[in-house]
């Protein structure tokens, strides 16, 4: 993927809160113009740690995916969902829905978005659950 993965902290006054012994951090990810996806995902750990002053990024919940008609592998009328892979610290995108309108085939489980798929139209909102160990604050 092209280099620009832009993280934005939540603009709310409350950007993170301690629940039990973990930080819950709100924010969103946007992408640069003409950005495309490369299989394997993109790394987010260092940016989240720096933005929120937290330790390890344990898990992430994404409220929405995104659709995009452009690129080498079209998401079309369906959508892709984002998932955080703890073992690599990367966010990967997976296809759901149908590959094209009514006549399209249903996506089988766990098919990653293909190399070259356009993602510059997308935005991913997230809640990240992070440990305090290694916190920079």
């Amino acid at each position: 993927m092209a280099a620009t993965v832009a993280f934005r902290e939540s603009t709310a006054t409350l950007k993170k809160v301690m629940v039990g012994d973990r930080w819950h951090c709100w924010g969103k990810i946007t992408f640069g113009a003409s950005d495309t996806y490369a299989t394997g995902g993109f790394d987010v750990r260092s940016q989240i740690k720096a933005l929120y002053g937290v330790g390890d990024v344990e898990c992430m919940d994404f409220s929405e995916g995104m659709a995009d008609w452009s690129g080498a592998t079209k998401i079309l009328t369906a959508k892709c969902v984002a998932r955080y892979d703890y073992s690599t610290g990367k966010i990967k995108l997976y296809l759901i829905g149908r590959s094209a309108a009514a006549s399209g085939a249903a996506q089988v489980s766990e098919v990653e978005v293909g190399n070259g798929a356009s993602i510059n139209a997308g935005t991913l909102e997230f809640v990240a659950t992070c440990s305090t160990s290694g916190s920079t604050t």
Partner: protein
């Protein structure tokens, strides 16, 4: 109609959330599974019928996945559109998105649609429930987390 649950965010798929457990999941729907058992002959009457009980599963039991005994709440992300499925109003869902809501009192989930369908009718599918007519739900997949004990 049955569901296939699996874990997300491993190894942090289950975390303590105050006195409760927060469990991340993805769920798929199998409209060809009869009585919750996959691989059996397709039953045209076995479509979505206003509820899918949590007990209707084709893989590991939802409760066994995380060692819980009761689900108190569920938070779903929106799923994809699917032009081969429709709401009870008959509008195919090739523009809107499917989502679900959990009914704690009955231990089941409902499938609903948000956004316009193929007719682009404003508000026509506001929280419209999926019809119980023949629909292929194989393209519908939802993610989210549950709060359980």
């Amino acid at each position: 109609m049955a569901m296939n649950w699996y874990k997300l965010n491993e190894p942090w798929d289950k975390t303590q959330y105050g006195p409760y457990k927060r469990c991340f999941f993805a769920v798929e729907f199998d409209s060809t599974a009869v009585g919750g058992v996959s691989g059996q002959t397709y039953d045209p009457t076995n479509h979505y019928t206003t509820r899918i009980d949590l007990s209707k599963v084709v893989n590991a039991n939802l409760f066994d996945l995380w060692g819980i005994t009761k689900v108190l709440a569920m938070q779903f992300s929106c799923g994809s559109s699917d032009a081969q499925a429709a709401t009870s109003g008959g509008t195919s869902n090739d523009v809107g998105k499917f989502k679900a809501s959990f009914v704690e009192s009955g231990n089941y989930i409902k499938l609903i649609m948000c956004g316009p369908g193929s007719d682009n009718a404003a508000g026509g599918n506001d929280e419209g429930e999926m019809t119980n007519a023949a629909n292929a739900l194989t393209a519908v997949r939802l993610t989210g987390y549950l709060i359980g004990v």
